[in-house]
Amino acid sequence: MNLTLKIWRQKDATSAGALATYQVKDISPDMSFLEMLDELNEQLNEQGEDPVAFDSDCREGICGTCSLMINGQAHGPEVTTTCQLHMRSFKDGDTITIEPWRADPFPVLKDLVVDRSALDRMIQAGGFISVNTGSAPEANSVPAPRDKAMRAFNVATCIGCGACVAACPNGSASLFLGAKITALGELPQGQPERWTRVVDMVGQHDHEGFGGCTNIGECTAACPKEIPLDVISQLNKDLRTAMKHGL
């Protein structure tokens, strides 16, 4: 199929950006969206024009590196990552607008590449269980109820891609944060730091400039791993409890 692409081009973090228009031809419906961009880049390289910079790595939907607002939707029209979005989701002759993640705490570095290190700094603020190597007790000495372990797993599937932030009109990272708080808070191993963790992580979230949650739900609709909205309720509940503890 033949497509018209409108792509955000921005030289570097400090330059102004603008949409540029390109044509691609003979795109196979079996291509992934990123393979279609690979084709475009080969074409640009041949023409002597700087290829479009975009992030991708595992290309199998698990590393969370790929991003892109596609026609205004995070990761495009399907509930999946951009690397697992295939061109059969589009029609011959379509015009597709491709932009970087939209959120203040994710500054654009070049073209479609943004800086998501704010997510790492939220983990540094308390997104872990403090255990030094070698000091762990025998694994089966602390049983974890199966349903709690299942819930922990279901929300631990978060890949940290940032789609929730990009989709949120408030630029909130509450879904990301709620997933981490819930995953660590469900397990017996995570209890000792549960209340300090939520206070510290929410503090860092706000410090990074992410917006507040107003329960719009765009985050969970855009989440390629279908993290449910109730992790944000869990987040708020844990935060209230922590405050009652006087933290």
Binding site: D50, N132, R146, A156
Partner: protein, 680 residues
């Protein structure tokens, strides 16, 4: 043969008679592991931990450690060494350490916990691993791996890794690829992700504590060897393009595998060999580079545009039945219209004992033979054979769940495999509940890597290598669920205990950026970058990578011949010449420039590819994923030659225009007897 330590060697030292690679290499001095432990195998690691010297906590913060890579091995090592109080600098090319490719591992992690009381033990895990690796792994290292495996599970559970559990709240586990005990711990089909997040979080905790400094979007481009010791790296900030020098007392490479040399593989797009290859050029030996693992159950290639291959979990082979049409003319038919009597369930037919669950190398090769014989299914793809003739071959076999659906019902199969079926449907656009899946083997993992001793130190003093980047634990073939085990064993438990013996001699004399060896490393790096940008040819780095990949897959893939490998070496040498005269990289060095990143990686892959072919040419035996057509049994099965090749091939860089130098380390077995594998 009685050895000095009171143990008995069970195998004869090899004597190589054949010399297929004559003229392509020179023979160097034999190699021994200078720190190999002795005595009864079960005591070796315990004794060594005691013998290794300690570093006083107050001295640790004066010691600087550079770790390249943040996967299971690198992330775990950074977390552990940071906790211990050393000064750690961690580097990764990704935008966050959490994205290292360990995250993509699906299956599970082995540990000798014997929770099922089914006869598992450290010794059995050790035995299965050495046997699975076709007796080309080093006994000492594998035993230690099995020994620390149980601690890994404890560590990860304490970190909050949500492993599968039974109703009583205790850990569940399952059986995996060709072993008869249940020792694989798993977190649905995303075990790698959960383990990596555990290591990443432990590492971020140290970043917050100030013991680990994290450099993301930084790529190591050169190793600094000063006065004979590894003392730092030259790295490029992939955003600003700034080239920076980082000095330390010791350097650890945890930079993963190089399967991307084949272009199409299950590796991440950025997975590369640069860190290891630059170290190789600076003197580190590259061991068994030709040992590649081909995974049998991947989604087949659909066209020229393809950038990577996706693995379908091996667990599918538990219930799916693999077949091809008996008549090649049925290839284009709807498989549902092919009657039972016209289908060939070839694995069940040839290997009745193991059936569809034969080990990876055997299943892979069998699929290739069916397709070579014209019985493959799916689209016909263009290939060029050794004589340069063009042919069209269908590269796919059916993995059929019709019988499983009949047995467990549609819901039963959905419950077990739904996410995998969805993934397949998304990628191929076909509904696997209605028609059988198509699968084909793909490059997955490499067992070769930089040579290390028992302390995980390479032959370059002060350079340690962990995880997939080293060679020692998997032999010629990796068993399922062993890669995660090795990464975490090295990172959490082995390296922290061995590196301290080296660091006990430190802090080493400080060097600064004006040291001639540092200046030289930096200058070389900058010149190389400028060279890429100034060639001004017509071809992109990607196009060279694709061409290299085709050569490697055709001649150094699942089946290799003397003629094919010699041809490949010639083709790669020509490709290298063209690369350095006809490469086109646009843009500049002082900005984010992904074409420039690729150029550097492809340049290294080309050199590695040549060495892989030479290694494969020299090894005139079939073992693991390495099948030399000249060495097979009457039934067409892989035939090892322990009498000639029970050694590790450690290659020394022979200079820009010189030949590589082969150092052989004989494999010595005292706790295990070598046997021919049979799965019939």
């Amino acid at each position: 043969m009685a050895l000095l330590d009171g143990t008995t060697q069970t195998n004869q030292p090899p004597v190589q008679v054949s010399d297929d690679a004559a003229g392509y290499y020179t023979l160097g001095a034999p190699l021994v592991d200078p720190v190999a432990p002795t005595g009864p195998i079960k005591d070796r690691w315990t004794n060594r931990k005691f013998e290794n010297r300690l570093v006083n906590p107050a001295n640790r913060r004066k010691l600087d450690i550079i770790i390249v890579g943040t996967g299971l091995a690198g992330g775990a090592a950074a977390a552990t060494l940071g906790e211990a109080g050393y000064n750690v600098k961690s580097f990764c090319y990704q935008d966050s350490p959490r994205r290292a490719h360990s995250i993509a591992a699906q299956g599970g992690i082995n540990a000798a916990k014997n929770y099922k009381e089914d006869g598992d033990s450290v010794h059995r895990l050790f035995y299965d691993t050495v046997k699975g690796g076709d007796y080309r792994a080093r006994e000492n290292n594998v035993y230690r791996l099995a020994e620390v495996s149980a601690n890994i599970i404890d560590q990860c559970v304490a970190q909050g890794v949500p492993f599968a559990r039974e109703y009583g709240g205790l850990l569940d586990n399952r059986s995996f690829g060709g072993v008869q005990v249940s020792r694989t711990f798993y977190a649905r089909g995303q075990t790698g992700q959960q383990l990596l997040i555990g290591a990443y979080q432990a590492m971020e905790r140290q970043v917050a504590a100030g013991t680990v400094e994290q450099f993301t979007r930084h790529e190591m481009l050169e190793l600094i060897v000063a006065d004979g010791k590894a003392r730092g790296i030259i790295a490029r900030d992939l955003v600003t393009g700034e080239v920076s020098t980082h000095l330390a007392d010791v350097v650890v490479l945890a930079s993963g595998g190089y399967g991307n040399v084949f272009y199409l593989s299950t590796n991440a797009m950025g997975s590369n060999v640069t860190a290891a290859w630059r170290a190789h050029r600076k003197g580190a030996y590259m061991a068994n580079p030709c040992y590649t693992q081909i995974h049998p159950t991947c989604i087949p290639v659909s066209g020229d545009h393809q950038s990577k291959l996706t693995l379908m979990s091996e667990s599918l082979r538990n219930d799916g039945r693999i077949w091809v049409p008996k008549n090649p003319e049925d290839a284009e038919k709807d498989p549902r219209d092919i009657p039972e009597e016209d289908r060939d369930y070839y694995l069940e037919r040839i290997y009745p004992a193991f059936g569809n669950l034969v080990p990876r190398d055997i299943a892979s090769r069998a699929a290739k033979y069916q397709c070579d014989a014209g019985k493959g299914v799916g689209p016909a793809v263009r290939e060029v054979d050794e004589e340069g003739n063009e042919k069209f071959v269908r590269r796919g076999v059916y993995l059929d769940f019709a019988e499983a659906i009949e047995r467990f019902g549609l819901d039963g199969v959905k419950e077990k495999y739904d996410n995998l079926f969805d993934m397949y449907a998304r990628i191929t656009g076909e509904n696997p509940y209605e028609t059988p899946m198509r699968i084909y083997p793909a490059v997955h993992y490499v067992m070769g890597g930089l040579w290390v001793d028992y302390h995980l130190q390479s032959n370059v003093e002060g350079l340690f290598v962990t995880g997939e980047a080293n060679f020692s634990d998997h032999g010629a073939n990796r068993l399922g669920a062993s890669a995660l085990m090795q990464g975490l064993a090295d990172g959490y438990f082995v390296l922290p205990n061995t590196i301290r013996d080296y660091l006990a001699d430190g802090p080493f004399e400080k060097i600064d950026e004006s040291h001639p060896d540092v200046v030289a490393a930096r200058t070389e790096t900058e010149e190389r970058i400028n060279k890429f940008l100034s060639i001004g040819g017509t071809r992109s780095a990607d196009s060279f990578h694709k061409e290299l990949g085709r050569i490697m897959w055709e001649y150094c893939g699942m089946e290799r011949t003397e003629t094919g490998l010699k041809k490949a070496i010639g083709l790669i040498q020509d490709l290298k010449k063209e690369f350095w005269s006809n490469l086109k990289v646009l843009g500049t060095a002082d900005t984010l420039n992904q074409s420039l990143e690729k150029a550097g990686r492809v340049a290294d892959f080309i050199e590695l590819g040549e060495l892989m072919c030479i290694d494969a040419l020299n090894r005139r035996e079939s073992c693991g994923g390495h099948f030399r057509a000249e060495s097979q049994t009457e039934d067409g099965e892989a035939l090892r030659h322990d009498d000639e090749f029970a050694y590790v091939a450690a290659w020394e860089f022979g200079g820009e225009d010189g030949q590589p130098v082969l150092h052989k380390e004989d494999l010595i077995y005292t706790a295990i007897e070598m046997k021919q594998r049979s799965y019939k």
